[in-house]
Symmetry: C2
Subunit: 459 residues, 2 copies
């Protein structure tokens, strides 16, 4: 059986692979800091060499207005599906450095966990994709599917230039589906296929009253207070259970299917443990939904920040003339961010109190994403995980947004399969990021199996 | 007629008086800055000398835990009322210095206005009290009433040590009333007797949800958001017209008398001009009350500041676990600050949303103050103004709080008469503070007349 042969290949080559991964992880490719621009380029060069060593063709480093994109392809599996493999080679900053137990760019293995910035997010997983291809070539002498690679260097700073790149290279990037390894498993030992993500619509609400802050003694009770006005607007957005009261907000929400609710329920999510972990007496949210349903499949409206008046120590008896709040909505299929923002504007207009003017400024937004739960690419992925992990795969949806997923969906118009091997506890974006090597070892086999199985599908 | 003789005295001595006042104003007695501690003491010494030159007796500089108090007395008007004259010799800081057109501690007269820090608040007015005494001695050879002087050096930093001083010296300070010149006239040419002040009760409300900020994608919709919870509490405090919904809040409010409402209405306060000045489309407040009634005689609840979550530029999709707001209520007779704070606590408890804990922290508070409108000391003061200014005196109440007024009321248990000669446009607490010398000249006569008339009252 092929899976066994892959297993042996990875076992034989493990030392060499880990050394190569160390090399990749030692490059401090922090995309947000201009002093690391050269390092980001070095990481791109490193990937280019790797692809070339794999006999991937037309490998190029494509400049964008920001950090470059690394592209490559191998298209000799005639009649077979084409997969576009995506990942990112940039990493988050590392401060506060003093909280790291080993240096972020000097990889170190402790208790079968690999510690380094990018080990889990996402260099470790990008590297697995490459080594899966290497193993397929080594064992099969060829690849079971056609592959295209797209590695970006700006994921950690919002993928600012990738949508334009994809748009420009739509035909070159054409594929039957996109494969991304940048998400987490459900729990240790429990793999997950994330088949849906929430979208995002964000606005800032700015309230303005008088032309300056006023003395609350001289004017208090006679002139509108901008913070009060803001508070009234914000309180009008939700009922006490978090149900959103913006007219039309839920109109386009695709209801959860019975199958999905059942799959979520089977995960037996432990709400009691979560309460303890978060230190809250009770969870909270829309009535009639479980925690997973609320966070995976229901839209939200959250105040991310609020400001106005005096916030220093002690007291200042000011009647503030300005106040503001930042709000983001997490959206679910088939809500449209632009439409939601229009509804928010209308709501604010309707609820603006006397004596102030209010402006609503839109932030970047992103569409929600869903590959149908029963899609063969999803079901096949689930089976590949199960063969290696020997437990049922969790079918999950993500409460967060990965804007690039929706971008692939919108521009290339193909399904996106999220096969991730991280764990949510691995401190990505924080000190002591690490990656469980158990999932590195198993994940390599899962990826090999998946590409072999996908070759059998008629897409 | 005596008023004419005072007039002549002040005319003859004007040059000398202005020179003396310049001397007083050149001492940078900024109480809030420790590097000016010596200057604050110099100002106290200067006052001591002035009092001694006036043959005031038992003059002393009394140390407190902060800046000293200057005391003096003259008690030879047997059978006549005793007035405790209060003022402060400390001043506000002067920054931003570059906005001053002349140096703050180099007094300068331009267009009959005296520019210097403290010229209006309060050294100029303290000086007038001293020169009124000087003139009374000069013209009458004696004083018509008994006087005690109490000048403090910490008014601009909240009079932290004065209440304890008054408490310790209750008997020494015993008087029939307190006379303060530290308020503003109603308008240029229009004097005012401020016979009431609002009190203050302040709290900070802190809301806490989970034990850290959460990712709004992973937890949004399933865990309470501290800012939302805070906003719901705050919105519950007032109706859309600013009427306070805290149970029992208005129970002890003394209603405005018909006479007071009539006196306020006669001032023909120009709400249209105020709207233009403040840049608002409409004023705002409790229905059934005019702007003056709302700000002078009705209690308020104002959010002075609010904070929580992310307030930087752009967007951060955080679900904040902490949020807070500072609130102060302006109180009117006969509301009790402690009782109001208890009501606020009860209200917050009742309106605390699910999934958060809330704490309420009390700030310093102050009682409201009112000398009855028809009190002879008030009516006499009104007539003294009218004799000099030749227009009816405005009977006003202050929307703000002068905590020391309530302190005098509470500890000494006597009426306080606020006869001020400043104008609200004189930039006290701001660059280019100035004092209209027209009111300096007229005010000196008003004070002399008042002390003579008070001598005729049976208190």
């Amino acid at each position: 059986m092929e899976l066994q042969r892959f297993h042996e290949y990875f076992k034989e080559n493990r030392e060499k692979h880990i050394q190569e991964l160390f090399e990749f992880l030692s490059i401090p490719s922090i995309s947000s800091l201009s002093e690391h621009k050269q390092d980001v380029e070095r990481a791109a060069q490193w990937l280019k060499q790797q692809l070339e060593q794999l006999n991937i063709e037309n490998v190029s480093i494509d400049e964008t207005e920001g950090h470059p994109v690394v592209y490559g392809e191998w298209l000799h599996a005639e009649g077979k599906p084409t997969v576009l493999i995506y990942g990112h080679y940039d990493v988050q900053p590392v401060d506060p450095l003093n909280l790291w137990e080993s240096e972020p760019f000097k990889p170190e293995i402790r208790q079968n966990k690999l510690y380094a910035r990018g080990s889990s997010d996402d260099k470790g997983q990008v590297f697995m994709q490459l080594k899966a291809i290497e193993a397929l070539f080594a064992i099969l002498g060829t690849l079971p599917v056609n592959v295209k690679f797209l590695y970006e260097g700006e994921e950690e700073i919002g993928s600012a230039h990738l949508p334009a790149y994809i748009e420009r290279n739509k035909e070159k990037l054409a594929a039957d589906f996109v494969l991304i390894s940048d998400t987490s498993m459900y729990a240790p030992g429990k793999p997950a296929i994330c088949y849906g993500l929430r979208g995002l619509a964000g606005v800032q609400i700015d309230v303005r009253g008088a032309n300056s802050d006023l003395h609350s003694g001289l004017y208090g009770g006679g002139v509108q207070n901008a913070v009060h006005a803001l508070v009234e607007i914000l309180a009008s957005f939700r009922d006490i259970n978090g149900k959103i009261l913006v007219e039309g907000f839920y109109d386009d929400v695709r209801p959860l299917s019975e199958e999905e609710r059942k799959a979520f329920a089977e995960l037996q999510f432990d709400e009691e443990s979560l309460k303890k972990e978060l230190g809250v007496n009770e969870l909270f949210g829309e009535e009639g939904y479980s925690f997973l349903e609320r966070t995976w499949a229901r839209p939200t409206l959250e105040i991310n920040g609020i400001f106005g008046g005096f916030s220093g120590e002690g007291i200042k008896t000011v009647l503030p003339n300005e106040a503001g709040a930042k709000i983001t909505c997490r959206l679910v299929p088939d809500q449209d961010p632009d439409k939601i923002i229009a509804l928010l504007r209308k709501h604010v207009e309707k609820h603006t109190p006397k004596g102030v003017t209010v402006s609503v400024t839109e932030f970047d937004n992103g569409a929600p994403y869903l590959t149908p739960f029963d899609h063969p690419l999803i079901q096949t992925a689930s089976r590949s995980y199960e063969k290696v992990y020997q437990v049922p795969t969790a079918f999950t949806r993500g409460g967060g947004s990965i804007p690039i997923v929706a971008t692939f969906d919108q521009i290339l118009n193909v399904p996106v399969v999220l096969m991730g091997f991280g764990l949510s506890t691995e401190n990505f974006h924080a000190p002591n990021e690490h990656f469980h090597l158990e999932n590195f070892d198993k994940g390599l086999r899962v990826l090999c199996d998946y590409l072999c199985e996908v070759a059998k599908l008629k897409l």
